[in-house]
């Protein structure tokens, strides 16, 4: 019973394809199969996008002691529909001096890249849309293209705010891409594969029946996960790292000159990027679609995935409601002086964990490595002085 529920979508797809087999040539079947995957992916994530966009506003509203959208539909749930219609029928303005082709291509490509990254994440048992041997590498390869698109948006608009925003965005994205990728390294090292399915598979076991073997429960995994999450925040330009868009400083960064549906596309790409990076985090560190305890395995795998994804998304929104925006120099310093060394430490700690037998001993050793580097860094960076409560002196 639970098994059939788990595989219900797989069976449905096979049922659909069974009409075709024998009647259509093989390549057509292949294309149809891919198309089904794509349509399903788009359907799920566009719905999720709509849902999250309204939920974010609701949750932020709660946090800021106000209601948030509550006019359209029950609890304001139809708000995204209304927004979508508004965006569609708005006038599409292209600046006169803009580089028209580039200006047009930027949102299209950025959305395409964001959606492509979704393709390699395993959403449930046997539910990876596209199995590539180097799936993780694919994710980052496509993800890194985003920078170019952001640049295109900034350049194509022929506006200095756009250009400034794009430059800021690229600078911080490039800086944080390093820790992002290096924190993935320990997982890849320990699993010995770049294939997301294998990475999820490596986290399947449980100790004593209730401690899952997720990588986040090892010292290096926990550290790497935190670093990964922070880098993910930067990569998706979310608060507290939303300098590129910084409404109060440079209007809306590289999206300043976009309106109507193009703007909506940017918005969507940003959210989808966020989903993708959270999904990757779930896959790499939080056991993918595995249940947190053994006896809960009867609940379908994709449910678990989306539960974990939702929790991560909630943290994103929570952070947005909590933290102020950081300065660009703080962001850069943090990336190069703290994130990068810590990310390398994770790699070392994972190696230590592996060679001391992956048991309790390895756990303690890798904890020691990370703690040692952490405290050394905190001394070197003089955090005690820099992050002490400020004392204000007023003119007397």
């Amino acid at each position: 019973m639970s098994d059939s529920l788990d595989q219900i979508f797989i069976h449905a797809k096979q049922w659909l394809l069974s009409f075709m087999s024998g009647r259509a040539p093989d390549w057509l079947v292949q294309i149809i199969s891919s198309l089904i995957n794509i349509v399903a992916l788009l359907g799920v994530f566009l719905t999720l996008f709509a849902l999250i966009s309204v939920l974010e506003r609701k949750i932020l509203g709660r946090m800021q002691n106000r209601y948030g959208p509550n006019r359209v539909g029950p609890f304001g749930l139809f708000q995204p529909v209304a927004d979508g219609i508004k965006m569609l029928i708005k006038e599409d303005i292209v600046p006169a001096r803009a580089d028209k082709i580039v200006h047009f291509l930027a949102p299209v490509l950025i959305a395409a890249a964001a959606i492509l990254t979704l393709g390699v994440i395993p959403y449930g048992r046997n539910m990876t849309p596209f199995t590539i041997d180097g799936g993780i590498l694919f994710f980052f390869a496509v993800g890194s293209a985003t920078e170019l698109m952001v640049f295109m948006a900034g350049w194509g608009s022929n506006n200095k705010y756009s250009m400034l925003g794009a430059m800021r965005a690229i600078a911080q994205m490039i800086s944080y891409e390093l820790p992002l990728i290096i924190t993935v390294l320990p997982v890849v090292m320990i699993v010995g594969s770049l294939n997301p399915d294998k990475i999820v598979g490596a986290q399947a076991a449980y100790s004593l029946g209730f401690i899952p073997h997720w990588f986040v429960f090892t010292p290096w995994g926990a550290t790497a996960f935190i670093l990964f999450f922070v880098s993910g925040l930067v990569e998706s330009n979310r608060t507290p790292f939303d300098v590129p868009e910084g409404e109060s400083e440079i209007v809306a960064g590289h999206m300043t000159e976009y309106s109507g549906f193009k703007y909506a596309t940017f918005f969507m790409a940003e959210y989808i990027g966020m989903f993708a990076i959270s999904g990757l985090g779930v896959t790499l560190f939080l056991g993918g679609w595995h249940a947190p305890v053994h006896f809960l395995e009867f609940i379908p795998s994709y449910v678990w995935f989306f539960v974990k994804l939702s929790i991560l998304l909630f943290v994103y929104i929570w952070l947005r409601g909590t933290l102020p925006r950081t300065r660009i120099d703080q962001i850069m310093n943090f990336a190069w002086k703290f994130m990068l060394p810590m990310a390398f430490t994770c790699v070392v700690a994972a190696a230590v964990w592996h060679y001391t037998g992956r048991g309790l001993r390895g756990w303690l050793w890798s904890l020691a490595v990370i703690a040692a580097v952490y405290f050394t860094l905190s001394i070197l960076l003089d955090t005690r002085r820099k992050f002490a409560p400020r004392t204000y002196r007023f003119a007397e």
């Binding site: 580089d99 590498l137 890194s144 920078e147 170019l148």
Partner: protein
């Protein structure tokens, strides 16, 4: 199917390359350059070298193309507007192309079909990099570090 895909990719790649070489606006050329690398990566995928294709996208689109557009931004000048094209280069390029094609056509022993192989997994590449190719790998690491430091020192503003 793969023939059609091959033809499409070939046309796309060559068109993008031509655009990158001849477009008047530098920025457009740089973007076409990125498109061309997507095309080449697609070739790599078709040929079964997925890993190399991904690395290519990663390095060229994620890093080199961004570097190029940054450099374009930092070196904007008006001399770019002057129409400056060297027709001698065209002749040389065409001559070289003709020569190469002639040489290819003249070589009779080129195989026409790829032999069947197991797909090369990333794991195998990793093992090779850490065993047979470990010294080249180290050398490339040193080279990249040196290039990084060298580039930084080059562009550092002189203290005045």
């Amino acid at each position: 199917m793969s023939t059609v895909a091959f033809a499409v990719i070939a046309i796309l790649t060559l068109a993008a390359a031509l655009a990158a070489a001849t477009l008047q606006k530098l920025m457009h050329a740089a973007l076409s350059f990125a498109v061309m690398f997507v095309g080449i990566s697609a070739f790599f995928f078709l040929l079964g070298a997925e890993f190399v294709g991904l690395v290519q996208i990663f390095v060229y689109i994620g890093a080199v193309a961004v570097l190029i557009v940054f450099t374009i931004l930092l070196t904007r000048d008006d001399t770019g507007k002057v129409r400056s094209f060297n027709w001698g280069g065209v002749i040389v390029a065409i001559a070289v192309f003709a020569g190469l094609v002639w040489a290819i056509a003249k070589t009779k022993s080129l195989p026409l079909t790829p032999s069947q192989i197991e797909p090369i997994t990333v794991q195998r590449i990793g093992e090779l990099l850490m065993t047979n190719y470990v010294w080249p790998l180290q050398c490339v690491g040193v080279l990249l570090t040196a290039a990084l430091i060298g580039a930084l020192i080059l562009v550092m503003e002189e203290k005045s």
